[in-house]
């Protein structure tokens, strides 16, 4: 099944481009340290998901590019084409001249209705190119005007036009100390609207990724391109093909559906967070060795201590002691800083992943009481290494991780609103 990506606004288009880049470079760059047959299956599965084969020699990304000003899209199209490995469909974009002025209302109430037909036509065309449509992946920021406002409107249109398709929104959480002064208004409006029409929101926080660039990737002068490349790598680590069933013979054909099924058991809880380890500068890779137990241990502690990267993890945080008669979600002896999960998904990529012990993730004390831990936790695997990391592990979780940032955003929005 294929995923149609909708790139919205400057951020959405810049990130989308890096995502297709990362996926392509993963497929072409290495042989994945596995058998040729495995590699070919991987390649085919990936192609089916993200690219369509057309008369052109180069695979064409299944994407619709939308922006209310022309510069970013025109750059994105040309840079992609220059890569020689892939490109966008030249007709699959829509832009205007004015921009949205960082005004959510402009994006949602003016540009949205005005351009609904044109945009949805483009989406329909991409959807029709798919043998089987696996759903939609939209990429947007919350802080601006187009990604946020128009993004919320388009998501609604997608829901109306494709009522049985999965919609996953990738949302960029802006820097705390501001990129846009009205970003908190735009964010609050976006989240509340997306919650109605989206199946899940996968969130990346700029502050977090920035830290990863600084401390782990050791980038000196961090640009948005650096940030976007880390985000793209993390997304790739989730969306590239995997075996979802133990002993499965084929790569999963329904990534979005599988994601929703494992992680969103309840429609009121749709916020998903992503962690991927290890992350390091490329030139450090030859000198590093990785062990599955080490990676799993780190990932688990990152989850329960709500650490966003593998440095500076608080190892003191422990799950609460479970007493069988007390429902864990109301337990007053739940330690502070402990991040309770609703559901978790671990993805392992690299050789020898068959016998990795993931029992620590099935510990009931990690989870709320209303799901059986057997159902709350899932693992996807592939022996094929991802993007130059001989072993890598990702964790997609539905947990309390976004509570504090959300509180901050709402607090600041309220402050601004309630003044004077």
């Amino acid at each position: 099944m294929s995923i149609v990506t909708v790139q919205l606004g400057q951020c959405g288009n810049q990130i989308g481009h890096e995502v297709f880049n990362a996926i392509c470079s993963d497929v072409h760059g290495t042989h994945g340290l596995c058998s040729k047959k495995e590699n070919e299956s991987y390649h085919d599965a990936c192609k089916e998901r993200f690219f369509s084969e057309e008369e052109s020699e180069v695979p064409v990304a299944r994407a619709v590019l939308v922006d209310m000003e022309p510069k970013v899209i025109s750059q994105t199209l040309s840079i992609a084409a220059r890569s020689g490995y892939w490109k966008y469909d030249d007709r699959s974009h829509f832009c205007q001249k004015q921009g949205s002025g960082n005004n959510w209302a402009n994006g949602y109430s003016v540009h949205g209705p005005r351009h609904e037909e044109v945009i949805m036509n483009l989406v329909q065309k991409e959807a029709e190119k798919c043998d089987r449509l696996g759903g939609f992946f939209t990429i947007m920021s919350m802080a601006g005007g187009t990604g946020s406002g128009l993004g919320a409107f388009v998501t609604q249109c997608l829901r109306d036009a494709f009522p049985t398709s999965f919609i996953l929104n990738h949302v960029i959480w802006p820097y705390g100390t501001g990129e846009v002064i009205v970003q908190n208004y735009n964010s609050v409006l976006t989240l509340s609207h997306l919650y109605q029409s989206s199946d899940a929101l996968l969130v990346h926080e700029n502050d977090v990724i920035h830290k990863i660039c600084a401390q782990l990737m050791k980038v000196k002068q961090i640009s948005f391109r650096d940030v976007n490349q880390v985000i793209a790598h993390q997304l790739g680590s989730v969306f590239q093909p995997t075996y979802t069933a133990e002993g499965g013979l084929h790569y999963s054909r329904n990534p979005l559906g599988d994601l929703m099924e494992t992680l969103v058991p309840h429609p009121e809880f749709k916020m998903l967070g992503l962690r991927n380890i290890p992350q390091m500068p490329e030139n450090s890779l030859p000198y590093s060795t990785f062990s599955w137990p080490g990676l799993v241990k780190h990932l688990r502690q990152m989850l329960i201590a709500n650490a966003k990267m593998e440095e500076g993890i608080d190892w003191q945080v422990r799950p609460p002691q479970l007493r069988s008669s007390i429902p864990s979600s109301h337990s007053t002896n739940k330690p502070l800083h402990f991040n309770t999960s609703i559901a978790n998904l671990v993805i392992l990529r690299g050789k020898d992943m068959h016998n990795v012990d993931l029992g620590s993730f099935r510990d009931p004390s990690l989870y709320t009481s209303w799901l059986n831990p057997q159902d709350a936790f899932n693992a996807w695997k592939t022996p094929r290494a991802f993007n130059k990391y001989e072993k890598s592990a990702s964790l997609v979780s539905n947990s309390q991780f976004l509570l504090k940032p959300l509180d901050n955003v709402v607090g600041k929005a309220w402050n601004m609103f309630a003044s004077k």
């Binding site: 400057q10 025109s74 002025g101 501001g178 002064i181 940030v227 504090k404 509180d407």
Partner: protein
Amino acid sequence: PVSLPSAVGQCGNQVGCRFWDLALREHAAVNKKGIYDESLSSFFRNVDTRSGGDGPDIYKGKICSLKARALLIDMEEGVVNEILQGPLRDVFDSKQLITDVSGSGNNWAVGHKLYGYQYRENIVEKLRKTAEHCDCLQCFFIIHSMGGGTGSGLGTFVLNLLEDEFPEVYRFVTSVYPSGEDDVITSPYNSVLAMKELNEHADCVLPIENESLFDIVNKIHQMIDSGKLGSTVKQNSLVTSSAGSTKTVQEKPFDAMNNIVANLLLNLTSSARFEGSLNMDLNEISMNLVPFPRLHYLVSSLTPLYTLTDVNVPSRRLDQMFSDAFSRDHQLIQADPKHSLYLACALLVRGNVQVSDLRRNIERLKPSLHFVSWNQEGWKTGLCSVPPVGHSHSLLALANNTCVKPTFIELKDRFMKLYKKKAHLHHYLHIDGMEQSCFSEAISSLSDLIEEYNELDATKGGPRTDPSRLKIAV
């Protein structure tokens, strides 16, 4: 998106002239192949002049003949004539000019009521024609001075017109305010009368004071003359210089100062014209920096003032650029934003500056700045990849800050000094449409504005009580 500047009056047109010259220089430096592109189209039309005169617009392909999207208005011919005889003569055509002979006699009423009435149709028609050629008109700029008669009076008349005829298009005004020692005695009257119009009809005003421009020019001369920098200063990087531009005539005293204002406008529009990792358009400036409609006065600063030829820019020099942007002597009006209250702040960087440089400096400078309680962490930032000519990077800071207040208070004081004695009033009152109430309304509007800033200042440093709300469990 297209911007349409209108230069009104002597000051406006002299600044405008520098602006068009530097804009051409900037685009020429970037556009090596001579192809008419999206970024050029913000300020210029591409006209086919082969058939002589005003041919059709060419939207793609090679540059044929560039015409500025502009209106040049002056009630005296001198300045505009000089432009038309100078190196920019092919950039304008007669349909963009509105001139008269006798000037406005430093009388706002003559500019606004007399000439306004007389030239209304003409101006509207020319505006419409010029706007028709624009694919997507986003913003009008008015460039003028406040102290005279034409720029001040007719300029604000045009502002009114723009609101009536093109209500959806943003109106940005660059206003040069008179200094205390201004030689025009009636400048306080003209300025206050114009202020009322700016209060009511402008979306955004960038006030400039000649004193500040003068100080900056002197500072640069001193740095160069003292030999501290010697030959290591790149001449064409001076924010005051026209070096490398089309001008060959000996520079006049105001040229250096006007270049600063021209550079301000170029930097303001850079992100709308050129690509970058975080674009910042003009409509975003208004959206983010104007929390309440009347408080739309933005204090600006441009750094660096010059670039050294040393190509390697260590990050501490970058950091110095940010520090300078907040220092009192880099502001384009006599103001000290650091010691007053910020309602909002925008930073637009150009060139090889990345998001980490922005973040590092915001973190560093934030503690020493005072922000209003409901916008403690609100910064608007933009990153444009293309630096100004001669620089590897530059920064434009725009502050909505109560430090504009002293400028307005002084203006009010100077006005009252004259008004109490009714000095020179009769020159105004005998113009058709002018009454004493125009004066009292104007000063009242200014007083109200000052009062709004006072109220905000009163909150500065006070206890921070956030309005209570439903708390969620964390």
